[in-house]
Symmetry: C2
Subunit: 197 residues, 2 copies
């Protein structure tokens, strides 16, 4: 017979399958289909594997960065995706997401619920080198996708290059070489006419 502990772990693994339903604002390259949070989280984890040499802080704990990006959007299963330029949506985002975290993570055995909660809080608080680097990837990946899909999300009213750059503020200190590239990409996007100055 399966232990109570294992049953909780399996219940959680089945519950988070729903992350594959949560669509984001950007589309998958070469398609008109919105990316979902599971795909996005996978992409960030591979980026963490490959780009950690650009983290300003040396000896960053790459396993913790990967764990953080793998779980950082789970709360959206209950709280939904808040568009990063939606000021109204941001007003109650923190409360909605904390409730979602309590509800979802507590499916797990207590020790693991606590571990995931701490990883998620660390990511949200952006106070450790691992969390700021994870955040920088979380901003960089949609930028790469928008650049390669003719600025899909940037076509919305009110999206301008300064807002896109500001969204990548965390990268300036946490990964300056990536930040230089972000600025190049934004300039190139303006020149190509896929992002408003």
């Amino acid at each position: 017979m399966i232990s109570e502990r294992m049953q909780k772990q399996i219940d959680f693994i089945v519950a988070i399958d729903k992350l594959k339903h949560i669509t984001r604002q950007n589309v998958v390259i070469g398609t008109t289909r919105n990316e979902n949070d599971a795909e996005h989280s996978w992409h960030l984890a591979v980026m963490a594997m490959l780009l950690s040499e650009y983290a300003a802080e040396k000896n960053i704990d790459i396993l913790r960065v990967i764990k953080m990006v793998l779980i950082h959007d789970l709360v959206e299963i209950h709280a939904g995706d808040t568009f990063c330029y939606d000021e109204k949506g941001y007003e109650d985002k923190a409360e909605r997401e904390q409730n979602a975290a309590d509800r979802l993570f507590n499916i797990l055995p207590h020790d693991q619920a606590q571990e995931i909660m701490e990883l998620w809080r660390e990511f949200e608080d952006m106070r450790t080198p691992e969390a700021t680097f994870a955040s920088c990837l979380d901003r960089f990946q949609p930028l790469l996708l928008n650049y390669n899909t003719d600025g899909h999300t940037w076509k919305r009213p009110g999206i301008t290059s300064d807002k896109v750059l500001r969204r990548n503020d965390v990268t300036e200190k946490s990964a300056p070489i990536i930040y230089d590239y972000v600025k190049e990409l934004i300039e190139s996007s303006i020149e190509k006419g896929i992002l408003k100055r």
Copy 2:
């Protein structure tokens, strides 16, 4: 200006976006939509975080397991998904996948191309505790999805419980407690009439 090294890394990160197009045989829970390889890889990585206590080998390198599951299906971008019960497809699978690996991984700078190639070969060869545990997760995850989607993939002609169990052979030694659960799940599936004996 971006370095040649970084350009190669970004080119690779953009190229592997295609993993989100590669559909698998099973569907996402609660939908009739086929899961794709990026979603599957993300799910495995979270499972690796949560289930490593069941690996027979203690002190398993969990970072290496996670890296392996994150990249294990990348070759399918060029080689396509081979259904695990398709005997004909398996005849030239190894050759197709090696060619795909050479083509895809070599977009990266040499040292990283080599790291990913080694991780992928380690996964395929199933000779280390990390690789067998990764393999066990790769078999367990579709079983969980099929169990929760009325045996979606098991409805195909010729799929029987002994084939499904045999597919999980690696789990018997690499994670015996998960293997016990696999057997329970298979029995329960037969009772529910969603898997043929």
